[in-house]
């Protein structure tokens, strides 16, 4: 059961992104009004606005939290062609009874893009402080802060060109060094009749990011893409929001050719496809264990999907954007999906050259 509560965010334009922090006690919103707002929740009380500032000189598309190990750090990206890293600092002299004056300072402004920066995401914690951005001109950039204590110094490590305009990206959140670093990028291009989801992998051998897979079954513009948190799976799950919801399993294949080439070969399988929204799907988001997928679409609903005991995905909940919960809709949805939606899994494999086991796991101080 869900209880809906409206939060009056008081943004003057569209809210493009919301992000909970690692623990779920804080959230950040960003909007076209160029402001970023940070909210705190103490206990189960209402969200209180703790900071609000003009972050960019263009629409702020995305906001994302860094792992709390690095401090209270946000990254934003904007139409103004920049991405920025923000850190919260607590003022020197808190007044009596006050929690202190909190404010966010811009630690760095990443100005390499020549077009709108459409997404920004921090890399998995085990890689240190890494930041990936993608922009409308189809360039993915990987930045790294060599010193995690100094957030003002970021070096552009890699530039990956992806021919199509990028709209969203997702790091593979694998927690160990067993899996090579992996990024999935989606394109909202609506002209080219090609695959719109690309998987890139960092090759330890060539010290470059290489495209290892193009998911050619997705030809529609992609609005959001999200790797499921992988706590112990041997394969990766990718959710793609396009005109419908797609759940894709990426299973690394270990064979001789992939060991020789140094690049992972992936077995790509579309395991579920839901047209429940019946219109454009804008967002896809996973819960922390990677067991529930929530998507939202133009129908103004949040729909949740869960994998059942025989490994097939089923709709479980529908939440309406105006706060109402649709009762029994899940049942209806499941019928709809089981009749029309589940297409036979499309299997494809691809061979590429390179793979490297990450030989030097980054040594990080454990706090």
């Amino acid at each position: 059961m869900f209880e809906a509560a409206e939060i009056n965010a008081e943004h003057k334009d569209l809210i493009h992104d919301v992000a909970y922090d690692f623990y779920g006690n804080r959230m950040a919103t960003c909007s076209s009004d160029q402001y970023v707002k940070v909210w705190d929740q103490i206990g189960n009380e209402k969200w209180t606005l703790t900071s609000s500032w003009k972050a960019h000189s263009g629409s702020v598309w995305k906001v994302t939290w860094a792992h709390p190990e690095f401090g209270q750090v946000l990254a934003t990206c904007s139409f103004d062609r920049t991405a920025a890293v923000w850190e919260e600092i607590i003022g020197e002299t808190p007044g009596p009874g006050e929690r202190g004056t909190r404010h966010w300072v811009r630690r760095t402004n990443l100005v390499d893009s020549r077009t709108s920066v459409t997404d920004v995401k921090f890399g998995p914690k085990c890689l240190g402080l890494q930041l990936a951005t993608c922009s409308a001109d189809g360039i993915i950039r990987i930045y790294e802060a060599p010193d995690v204590m100094n957030l003002s110094q970021w070096t552009l490590q890699h530039e990956i060109t992806c021919k199509l305009s990028c709209s969203c990206l997702s790091w593979n959140p694998s927690l160990t060094n067993n899996h090579p670093q992996m990024i999935a990028v989606g394109s909202d291009d609506n002209t080219a009749q090609t695959g719109k989801v690309f998987i890139f992998e960092y090759s330890e051998n060539s010290r470059r990011w290489m495209k290892i897979e193009t998911i050619i079954t997705i030809m529609e513009p992609v609005h959001d893409i999200s790797f499921a948190p992988n706590l112990g799976r041997s394969y990766h799950i990718l959710a793609v929001a396009t005109k419908d919801v797609k759940i894709i399993n990426l299973t690394p294949i270990k064979d001789n050719s992939s060991i020789q080439s140094g690049l992972t070969k992936l077995d790509v399988q579309t395991v579920a496809q839901f047209t429940d929204h019946t219109c454009t799907v804008w967002r896809a988001s996973w819960n922390v264990t990677g067991t529930v997928l929530a998507t939202s679409g133009d129908d103004g609903c949040v729909r949740m999907f869960k994998m059942n005991y025989i490994n097939s995905w089923k709709p479980v909940t529908v939440l309406k954007g105006d706060g109402a919960v649709i009762p029994n809709d899940a049942h209806r949805g499941s019928i709809a999906s089981s009749t029309g939606v589940l297409t036979p899994p499309i299997t494809q494999t691809a061979r590429y050259i390179k793979l490297g086991s990450i030989s030097q796991p980054r040594d990080l101080p454990w706090h």
Binding site: A4, Y20, G24, S57, N178, V288, G290
Partner: protein, 761 residues
């Protein structure tokens, strides 16, 4: 009309359309041409730089076309000249007038909208000059009292009024008939203003500045009011209102942004449309009479006619919804809602209005944000927390831990996980150990003492359990009730064994066994957990020390060396060939002493653990593995990478729930070096001396500088702190955790009286 372009030999600074919008004049440092605009191309009519007598007055900062007479052009030259060109003439005579009055470069020329022959110029020298083309000299000079005038524009509404903007951020309104003083002056921007434009209908003046804003001023009243502010991504060099669209204005940037943006001033954050054809920054924009076509020049040497149908719409690419799920399973959802001007009722449904066009809807954008809070009593995430807190992972015997954890799982409704624990207990519990031991000793010692039939019963149990276990592991989500009961009985049996014969001496009669077994089974059902806890507390609870002895030591499983016998060749073949049916035969006839067939449960267990991990429930997998202790050695096919992955996954999830103690425990109990090292990283904290605030580098209790040992004392009871010491990073004072807790529940200031407001949370 389509997008067409023509390339020039040099950068173009400005353009001007003639009054019927059929021809365009472009000017730059090395370019000065007139083109006629054809359907699909630009046709050069004349090149005014074709003359042999080129001089600096030919290089233009700005070009203007007379609004009354198609034959006259005016240019603002970089050398301070204002030139008037007569297109009917040729050669040197074309340059009809050259006014050499400005001392510095001229930024702008502008023809009067109604009076022919009249034009005005604004210059870097801070003056504006009003010319009559029939006179050799300026008819009026206006002193702006600023460094430089960047733009001058005649008002379309007030025939004698013109606006001038300057680099100091001020806007001046002048009457051409009054040269001594401006009508109105106000500071519009914090930085230089580069351009201004009068709205063709409304009494608005738009100003564009280096401060990255375009401001729209209403000048009807004596005091100008700022009606709209547009925030752009770069300094704005030019602005031009879009004809026939009251709220639209075109802008081009002076740096960074090469595109020409069309804004709806009611949505001042994101352009309504953008034209990205230019490779370098655009230097001028001119609308071709209607709202759908405009021309632009650029530093990339091109002149382009843009058609609105080729515009890109930045807002349409924007993601209009926001969604995230928190650690606790709460969902945040922000979505676009229609903003209707007359009603304020927000509805969740999209408005279906077929009549309104894109431009009508464009400015009406707002989002609502909802949080859906998980309120159900029993969900996966709350039970995760409960299980993490209540599982016992060390410090007791293996069966006890399994029993306890099974009961805990049952308590929060996870009957399948509860069953896993019971099965694990059966697989690797007391009995398993005994059978292992039996094998090691050839079965002789025990067999002699034990009644054959009881052993038989025991074995049947084992086999039954094993079969059940096998079945359940393969598909543990569909566990039958009967199995659970079965397991419960078996568990009772083990418990009996343990408490009745603590040292594992194995001798009892059948009757005795049955009696006790029944009693215990009932006991079990009536609250076995409590009883267990009671006994376990007596037996197994150890002082809560900083370094717990690993539970393996207390585990009463036989030393690991005996396990490999599992695989020893002498009975390997037998164990494979013998079947369940054969068992009674050989059990009864003890004399044979054949090796007992052992079903190795590890494969099924691994499969089961993997199943749980794949389902996102690493908690079960990791907890079972930890509790298994030494039995983990049997799980040979479970590779370390996978287990590391599970452990990391569990640890991260514990972090998310802020279950630091459980996390530390899991790390401590982890048998994989890369994980167990995590507790040994960054464990050192240097305190400060409470007297001189010097960081205590060498030891935590003696200050090198002032030789005080105060840092080791509690600032409340003044005793030396042994155990948990809490201190304030701000003032370096601290003490016993309990004392500090008590103090800060009532006070805010530091107990030492140093005046520091310690933040104790």
């Amino acid at each position: 009309m389509s997008t067409i372009s023509v390339l020039q030999e040099g950068p173009v600074n400005a353009l001007a359309l003639n009054k019927d919008n059929s021809q365009v004049a472009i000017g730059g440092r090395n370019v000065f041409k007139v083109y006629s605009i054809e359907e699909d191309c630009f046709k050069e009519i004349c090149n005014l730089r074709a003359s042999k007598h080129l001089n600096l007055s030919f290089s233009c900062n700005d070009v203007a076309w007379s609004s009354t007479d198609d034959n006259y052009l005016a240019t603002a030259a970089t050398n301070g000249h204002v030139c008037v060109w007569n297109l009917t003439k040729s050669g040197k005579a074309m340059q009809e007038q050259v006014y050499q009055e400005h001392k510095r470069t001229v930024n702008k020329v502008n023809f009067h909208s109604s009076e022919p022959y009249r034009l005005i110029s604004g210059s870097q020298d801070g003056t504006m000059r009003y010319f009559d083309m029939r006179c050799k000299a300026a008819v009026a000079t206006f002193l702006s009292n600023t460094e430089s005038v960047r733009d001058v524009q005649f008002s379309p509404h007030m025939p004698h009024t013109f606006a001038a903007v300057s680099e100091n951020g001020s806007v001046q309104l002048w009457d051409v008939r009054r040269t001594e003083k401006c009508i109105q002056q106000f500071t519009a921007h914090s930085g230089p203003i580069f351009a201004c434009d009068w709205h063709p209908e409304a009494t608005w003046l738009a100003t564009a500045s280096r401060d990255k804003t375009i401001k729209v001023w209403d000048l009807t009243t004596s005091k100008p009011t700022l009606d709209y502010t547009i925030h752009t991504i770069a300094s704005i060099g030019h602005v031009k209102w879009r004809p026939q669209r009251k709220y639209h204005i075109a802008s081009c940037a002076l740096v960074v942004d090469c595109s020409i943006n069309i804004w709806d001033i009611r949505r001042p954050f994101i352009p309504f449309a953008a034209f990205n054809e230019h490779k370098d920054i655009a230097s001028g924009v001119a609308w071709r009479g209607d709202s759908q076509v405009f021309l632009s020049t650029s530093r990339d040497c091109s002149l382009i006619q843009h058609s609105f149908k080729d515009a890109s719409r930045p807002a349409s690419k924007a993601n209009i919804q926001a969604l995230d799920i928190s650690t606790k399973g709460n969902t945040l959802f922000g979505m676009r809602v229609p903003v209707s001007t007359n009603t304020t009722k927000p509805t969740g449904l999209m408005r279906k209005s077929s009549t309104s066009t894109i431009s009508d809807q464009f400015h009406q954008s707002a989002s609502v944000l909802h949080q859906f809070t998980h309120v159900s009593v029993c969900n996966d995430l709350s039970s995760f927390e409960f299980l993490a807190k209540n599982y016992i992972l060390y410090g007791r015997s293996f069966p006890e831990m399994c029993e306890h954890n099974a009961a805990v799982a049952k308590e929060c409704g996870k009957s399948n996980i509860s069953t896993i624990w019971k099965i694990v207990n059966t697989m690797y519990g007391e009995l398993y150990v005994k059978i292992q031991a039996m094998h090691n000793n050839g079965g002789l010692n025990l067999m002699n003492n034990v009644d054959a039939s009881s052993t038989e019963k025991k074995n049947n149990d084992v086999v039954g359990e094993a079969a059940a276990a096998q079945f359940s592991s393969a598909d543990d989500d569909v566990e039958g009730e009967d199995q659970v009961d079965h397991t419960a009985v078996a568990n009772g049996y083990h418990t009996y064994n343990k408490y009745g014969h603590p040292k594992g001496d194995f001798s009892f009669g059948e009757n005795e066994l049955d009696l006790e077994l029944d009693a215990l089974s009932i006991d079990y059902r009536n609250g076995m957990r409590n009883q267990n806890q009671l006994q376990q507390q007596e037996d197994w609870t150890l002082p809560n020390e900083a370094f717990n002895i690993r539970h393996e030591i207390r585990d009463r499983s036989p030393p690991p060396e005996q396990f490999p016998n599992n695989n020893s060749p002498d009975f390997n073949d037998d164990s494979h060939s013998s079947t369940v049916d054969e068992q009674p035969t050989w059990l009864v006839s003890v004399s044979k002493i054949p090796p007992m067939p052992i079903w190795d449960p590890s494969a099924s267990l691994i499969e089961s653990l993997k199943h749980h991990a794949e389902k996102g429930d690493v908690q079960t997998s990791v907890s079972v593995l930890i509790v298994l202790g030494e039995h983990r050695k049997n799980l040979k096919t479970l590779d370390e990478n996978t287990v590391t992955h599970w452990l990391m996954g569990y640890i991260q999830t514990l972090e998310r729930f802020r279950l630091w103690n459980v996390k530390a425990l899991v790390i401590e109990l982890a048998w994989i070096p890369s994980i167990s090292q995590m507790n040994q990283q960054s464990t050192r904290i240097n305190t400060n001396c409470s007297q001189c605030l010097k960081p205590l580098q060498r030891s935590g209790w003696l200050c090198d500088r002032c030789h005080s040992t105060d840092a080791s004392r509690c600032s409340i009871c003044h005793q030396v702190v042994k155990g948990l010491y809490v201190w304030c990073q701000g003032c370096s004072h601290g003490g016993h955790l309990m004392h500090m807790q008590e103090w800060f529940s009532k006070n805010k200031q530091c107990p030492t009286g140093c005046g520091h407001l310690c933040e104790y949370r």
